[in-house]
């Protein structure tokens, strides 16, 4: 059953013309992450690898391709968590770096803190030799177009919803039985400057504990925070629910209690996994026992043999 890695590229309403890009993006990321695991890499290495690839992929709302805040600028959040030690690293509202998830990992590995924000996060990045990148390199035509559209007072509400959610993330369990999660995002479309969503908040954007499993979430950030979705799902698993049932219970609770939609990828230390969502779509992919699994719309579950898997 081990190792396993599951990634998501955001829950929400992905416009049809972009859905192929989302699907190929998550499949590609999961293949790389799986190769890391098969090569003896840790679950932390795998989830960071997946998240970094999705950050580099301009089709996703993370790193390059991040949505813009109200001022047309990029502010990013990320989280990593190690299920063995419960150590975590997070950055919030960080600017001008290509890979916030990598910086989050550095916070975990190189400081005695768990979260750095804004200017402090940038200072730390500089001290670690993480290159500063021009903001322009993170902004795509698409994100700029959506920003402009949503500035208008009469902005189209349906269009507004598209990608209002969307974040990338991954969970994995390696051959040692250690679980980990990673989540990264540009946040909410046209958010207020300095707005921090669920992603870098431990227990909301993600959580990992070798005793129960790992979760990475996506969806309406404020709703996820109100119910601390990742932690909520793992409470259910601690009480004996399967990864799939716990994920569904958590998403249903979020919908009924606070009216929010979203999606999660979940894994338990034995290698059982789930990719579940209450939104219209969520691009996801998983790799286990040499097989690639993926889907986009509710009920979809495609499989493919991973040729180079050993």
């Amino acid at each position: 059953m081990l190792p396993v890695v599951v990634v998501h590229g955001g829950a929400g309403h992905i416009p049809k013309e972009r859905s192929d890009l989302s699907t190929s993006g998550v499949c590609s990321a999961v293949r790389s992450a799986y190769a890391v695991l098969q090569g003896g890499g840790s679950s932390m290495d795998a989830v960071v690898e997946a998240a970094m690839l999705l950050e580099n992929n301009p089709s996703f709302n993370a790193g390059c391709g991040s949505v813009l805040n109200l001022k047309g600028e990029v502010e990013m959040d990320a989280l990593v968590m190690d299920g063995k030690t419960l150590s975590s690293g997070a950055v919030s509202a960080v600017r001008n770096i290509a890979n916030p998830v990598q910086l989050a990992r550095l916070v975990m590995d190189k400081t005695s803190h768990a979260c750095l924000t804004a200017e402090g996060a940038s200072q730390f990045a500089r001290s670690m030799g993480v290159p500063e990148v021009p903001q322009e390199s993170l902004i795509t035509e698409y994100s700029r177009m959506r920003w402009k559209k949503n500035l208008a007072p009469d902005a189209n509400p349906v269009e507004c919803q598209m990608g209002k959610m969307g974040t990338v993330g991954a969970v994995a369990v390696d051959t040692d039985g250690n679980v980990a999660c990673a989540t990264s995002t540009g946040g909410m479309l046209n958010k207020m400057e300095g707005r921090v969503g669920d992603t870098p908040c431990i227990g909301s954007g993600g959580y990992a504990d070798n005793m129960s499993g790992a979760v990475s979430t996506t969806g309406h950030g404020e709703a996820i925070m109100k119910v601390t979705l990742a932690r909520h799902i793992l409470f259910h698993m601690e009480q004996g629910q399967s990864a799939e049932a716990a994920s569904d219970l958590g998403l249903a609770h979020m919908k009924s209690r606070v009216g929010g939609l979203g999606g999660v990828v979940t894994v338990d230390p034995q290698g059982n996994w789930a990719a579940r969502f209450s939104s219209r779509q969520m691009a996801w992919a998983a790799a286990q026992k040499g097989t690639l699994h993926y889907g986009l719309y509710t009920g979809e579950h495609f499989t493919q043999i991973i040729e180079d898997a050993h």
């Binding site: 502010e75 509202a93 400081t111 803190h113 402090g120 730390f124 400057e193 908040c201 404020e222």
Partner: protein, 311 residues
């Protein structure tokens, strides 16, 4: 009719003897103040905000006025407030030079569609609603300036052993009002000489605090990074959801935090039915509770003093 209860804490750590009386006086005064809000029909949300404001204004505590300084000698403040009825919440992290971060957090909750604002964005929002930044020297006490000088020799970013002797007080309050609604609030200046931009547990929902009418409200203090690892506030309420008393839930959770991640701290909890607890695994925690006309308080382990609430 439901009886209203309010509990406050002024931080869990090795409070030195010379600070103990001021700490106890401070939490008692804040509890009295918050409790009077409840008595006059105010909501749990109003009461926790009022109590925490009183603690922020008190230079004895590491929140608002009297906050510790980061490695650059600046004040960066975190706060959270949460409404157990709707699960609405507001938080600010690393906001500079604001006298009452808890009120700014409430404004985030009530005046924006977001839950958390950080750094410059939080300060800009404050300005936009007429909350002006105040000069650093109005927030920094001589004591904190001296402590900052003393600790400057330690490099930030180097792995350090944070033990309970280091000051990591924070302030907080939980309440249940006569309508049965619960709320929590937590506010802090963070760890002394922390890295610039360090965010601890206080403003993180589920960690520094959590409130849910179905189980209760919690505010935590102690070693922030440990509290984050176990999502302490949310953990305590999960035990309450499973049928544990607030006291047992608190004890179990703090025990777990000590065993699993070697962290110590303190918590205050109130249930929708008016049960309350103040628990800590650090050497001391200044706390006070107003319930049924009695003011309870303590600072040392097992201590439970009381006096009449109305004086």
């Amino acid at each position: 009719m439901m009886s209203a209860v309010l509990v406050v804490h002024g931080g869990a750590w090795s409070i030195p003897d010379e600070m103990a009386p001021a700490s106890v006086d401070g939490v008692k005064a804040a509890a009295r103040h918050g409790s009077s809000v409840l008595k006059s029909g105010g909501s749990a949300l109003d009461a926790v905000e009022a109590a925490v404001r009183a603690l922020e204004d008190n230079p004895t505590f590491n929140a608002g006025y009297g906050a510790t300084l980061n490695i650059d000698g600046e004040v960066e403040l975190d706060a959270i407030i949460m409404d157990g009825r709707t699960l609405a919440s507001g938080a600010v992290s690393c906001v500079k030079n604001i006298a009452n971060p808890v009120s700014l957090a409430r404004a985030v909750m009530e005046k924006t569609s977001h839950i958390m604002l950080t750094g410059k964005g939080a300060n800009q929002f404050a300005e936009s609603i007429g909350i002006n930044a105040i000069p650093t020297d109005k927030l920094v006490t001589e004591y904190e300036k001296k402590e900052w000088e003393k600790h400057k020799k330690y490099f930030a970013g180097v792995m350090e052993e944070f033990n309970t002797k280091w000051a990591h007080d924070t302030v907080g309050a939980v309440a249940v009002d006569c309508a049965g609604n619960v709320a929590c609030a937590t506010s802090t200046g963070g760890i002394r000489n922390k890295m610039v931009g360090r965010v601890g547990d206080s403003p993180v929902i589920g960690c520094g605090g959590y409130a849910n009418n179905s189980s209760g409200a919690v505010s935590c203090t102690g070693h922030g990074e440990s509290i984050l690892k176990v999502t302490l506030a949310r953990l305590i309420l999960s035990h309450v959801e499973q049928g544990k008393s607030v006291a047992d839930a608190s004890r179990l959770s703090l025990q777990y935090m000590g065993d699993r991640v070697q962290g110590a701290g303190g918590t205050i909890v109130v249930s929708p039915s008016g049960q309350w607890a103040a628990t800590f695994t650090t050497e001391r925690m200044a706390w006070a509770a107003a319930a049924d006309g009695v003011l309870w308080f303590g600072i040392n382990p097992e201590e439970r003093l009381n006096e009449k609430l109305s004086q």
